[in-house]
């Protein structure tokens, strides 16, 4: 099935869930390089499209788009903003192939093409592994701690019938035995490449209250870029990410703190990125992320359940839109066997390119 059709199917599912018709969509924020707002509007019958944009932050785009949609509806630029996304990450062109043919598909564009690829650094796990190894060196982060992330995501997937890895549990011993892909990353440190799509709709508080489902409120949202964003080796602060800037802004806007969160949906392209984002988002100090995720700390029942659906590592790679969908399910109490009891406040993050970040704090 084409990525366009997947996105349209997800959009229709989101419209049904919201009790809206396609013609009521007047804003669309399309994911980078996966189709144009005009085409989605033409198929959905969105004849009053008046707000369309694409935020080029890779996997941070969906949550950054959530924030932009909130700005748009509160300013009256649109009433109902659709954010669709779908990726044929398994049956379509694999990441390892697209980087060889399309300079524009690579974070950093020409910089990566001219300075990273010729040295054999061709794909994200290799780039991010350089960040991970430095973190391990400076802060003592361990393989076992990275494994704790993989194991937690896989445990959660066992409670999610829609997760690709449901029925395939993973122990820390199995994780440690999985082959090195881009040392320090093992195969089991890496997210899935799957076919799938998701979509969500943002509207005003007043409008949402008139619709059928429990509204989920955006309390705070922000995005940010590491510096420089297009080249990561020369950063003065090698561990800074976009989230380092965005998270304090979002929590301040929401008037809450990381400790108030009932769960977190953290963009888990690789295990270490979960540890790093927990640090940069303020759930713990920099360097303490490894111990934060140990001993079931991020599992259901732990101090902060992370990626209750299984995430990119064990549910599916839905470009980060799935993290928003899961947050909404949790806050509505629709998460079935993986429900966080009484969840009222949650956070969702995005990570893209060489560390672009986005974050939203949501409330029931």
């Amino acid at each position: 099935m084409s990525e366009e059709r997947l996105q349209l199917q997800a959009s229709v599912a989101a419209l049904h869930d919201a009790g809206l018709k396609g013609k009521e969509i007047d804003g669309i924020l399309a994911f980078p390089n996966l189709g144009k707002s005009e085409a989605f509007a033409a198929s959905l019958g969105s004849e009053n499209l008046r707000f369309a944009a694409t935020i080029h932050m890779g996997g941070a785009s969906p949550v950054a788009s959530l924030r932009m949609a909130a700005m748009a509806v509160t300013q009256g630029a649109a009433n109902h903003v659709l954010i669709p996304g779908a990726w044929n990450g398994y049956s379509g062109a694999r990441v390892r192939e697209t980087v060889t043919t399309d300079k524009n598909s690579i974070p950093g564009g020409a910089i990566a093409w001219d300075y990273y690829l010729p040295q054999g650094l061709t794909v994200p796990p290799q780039w991010y592994a350089l960040m991970c190894r430095r973190h391990m060196h400076e802060y003592g982060t361990t393989h076992e701690q990275m494994g704790a992330v993989a194991v937690a995501m896989r445990k959660h997937a066992q409670l999610n019938p829609g997760a690709l890895m449901c029925g395939k549990p993973l122990t820390l011993e199995q994780y440690m035995a999985s082959p090195m892909l881009a040392d320090p990353y093992r195969v089991n440190d890496c997210c899935l490449e799957t076919d799938g799509g998701a979509a969500f709709i943002v509207t005003t508080v007043e409008r949402a209250r008139d619709l059928g489902k429990t509204p989920i409120y955006i309390m705070g949202a922000a995005s940010g870029q590491p510096y420089p964003a297009d080249e990561f080796t020369t950063r003065k602060d090698f561990h800074q990410t976009g989230l380092s800037i965005a998270a304090p802004e979002a929590f301040r806007m929401a008037g809450v703190t990381p400790a108030d969160m009932d769960f977190a949906q953290i963009y888990d392209c690789f295990t270490f990125e979960v540890i790093q984002q927990l640090e940069e988002a303020g759930f713990c100090q920099r360097g303490e992320g490894g111990s934060f995720v140990e001993d079931g700390g991020i599992e259901l029942g732990g101090k902060l359940p992370v990626n209750t659906s299984g995430g990119l590592l064990s549910e599916a790679h839905s470009l980060g839109l799935g993290h928003v969908v899961e947050a909404v399910k949790q806050l509505r109490g629709e998460a079935g066997d993986r429900q966080v009891a009484g969840a009222e406040l949650g956070v969702v993050t995005g990570w893209g390119d060489f560390g672009d970040g986005s974050i939203a704090i949501l409330r029931r």
Binding site: V95, R96, E97, V99, T100, A110, I111, W113, D114, Y115, Y116, L117, P118, Q119, G120, L121, T122, V123, P125, Q126, A129, L130, M131, R133, R134, H137, P179, M180, L181, A182, D183, P184, Y185, P228, E231, T233, T234
Partner: protein, 141 residues
């Protein structure tokens, strides 16, 4: 020279000038003429003071290992087809004496022999008629 299929840099503009210096076996970095800050990758202006005045300055060629990744499974066709001997390889980030960092590979060192802060110096590998890539070797005391 057998056909080289691995990725090659573009040779336009400032990047072309950077690689021209490599072809002459003389690693250079840009240095701001106003505030003397070195920079890499090449850019039009100084991010520290916003000056457009700069010059190419020859690097000491010396630095230390800042990070590395051991690639056990290549994920780019040119590194696995038809070059199965390309892995394991260990791309490194070198922190140069000038303060800039760049990605490279070691020529005299197995992945297991890499150490943080290990002193290294630049060498040059001619990969095609037009491109010479900067690589590194250990500085032995």
């Amino acid at each position: 020279m057998s056909e080289y299929k691995k990725p090659l840099p573009g040779l336009d503009g400032l990047t072309g000038e950077f690689y021209d210096f490599c072809k002459q076996e003389a690693l250079h970095f840009q240095r701001c003429s106003a505030c003397n800050t070195f920079r890499h990758v090449p850019r039009e202006m100084c991010a520290e003071c916003n000056s457009f005045e700069w010059e190419w300055v020859k690097s000491s060629g010396k630095g230390t290992i800042f990070s590395w990744v051991v690639v056990n499974r290549a994920l780019h066709p040119a590194f696995y087809d038809p070059a199965p001997d390309a892995v394991p390889m260990a791309p490194v980030v070198v922190e140069m004496e000038e303060g800039v960092r760049l990605t490279s590979n070691m020529v005299d060192c197995l992945p297991a022999e890499l150490e943080m802060d290990m002193p290294v110096e630049v060498v040059y590998e001619v990969v095609t008629d037009t491109v010479t890539l900067p690589r590194f070797r250990r500085i032995k005391n």
